[in-house]
């Protein structure tokens, strides 16, 4: 029987440090799953808005209501983060930004840029 090597097992949250690129990457996944769940609601709104003039004004009223406006901001934030993180992924596939300083800096840029860009889009819509 071989002796099992003793591994450092610590789930002490204060000692686990997620690097910034991991946060950006997890955000890419969370935003993707969130948007997946929003697909049926988007098609519902599209269907409603095209059904009749009454449906059109109803769809606009739904989009203008307070809770939906809040969800819309989170959805746009998710979309912007997802697109920026996706562009970063494609750049890395093309061997751009693979060196550690750039890798960290672009991850940070995606994370920080997404909320203000989303806010501008949200206000403009």
């Amino acid at each position: 029987m071989t002796k099992t090597k003793k591994r450092p097992v610590h789930l002490d949250l204060r000692r686990i440090r997620l690097p910034i690129n991991a946060i950006t990457s997890v955000g890419h996944r969370i935003s993707g799953v969130l948007m997946f769940f929003l697909i049926p609601f988007c098609i519902y709104l599209l269907d409603l808005s095209l059904s009749s003039p009454r449906g059109f004004s109803r769809a606009i009223a739904i989009l203008d209501s307070l809770p939906v406006k809040g969800i819309l901001f989170i959805a746009i934030w998710g979309l912007v983060h997802h697109i920026l993180a996706g562009l970063r992924c494609i750049a890395i596939d093309l061997d751009r930004g693979v060196e550690k300083p750039t890798f960290i800096r672009t991850a940070y840029a995606v994370l920080v840029a997404a909320p203000p860009v989303a806010f501008v889009v949200w206000v403009a819509l």
């Binding site: 993707g32 799953v33 049926p40 098609i43 808005s49 095209l50 494609i90």
Partner: protein, 114 residues
Amino acid sequence: MSGRRAAGLRAWVVQRLSAIYLGLFFVYLIGCFVFAPPASHEAWRSWVAHPYISMALLLFFLSLLLHAWVGVRNVLIDYVKPFGLRLVLLALTGLALIACGAWGLQVVILARIA
């Protein structure tokens, strides 16, 4: 690229090609809504019914389905370990996406014949 051996590579290519189309289409769509929001139901319907727009929308739905499928599949494979549960969730995801695709197709067709 056929058979199980290339399945991972195929998913990888599909994910990136669909991502490029989705990204471009979203930028275009947001631009349209910001700079020329539809003023009336008729204006909105005829915009959707325009041949180029309805074709672009159908391509968008197709890209979205493929992209969401590969993405959610990867997430399920990473986090759901019990095989049976994973299979059930994958099947539900696939069915839900196909249903959404059929719904979207129907909406675009109805807008065109209206």
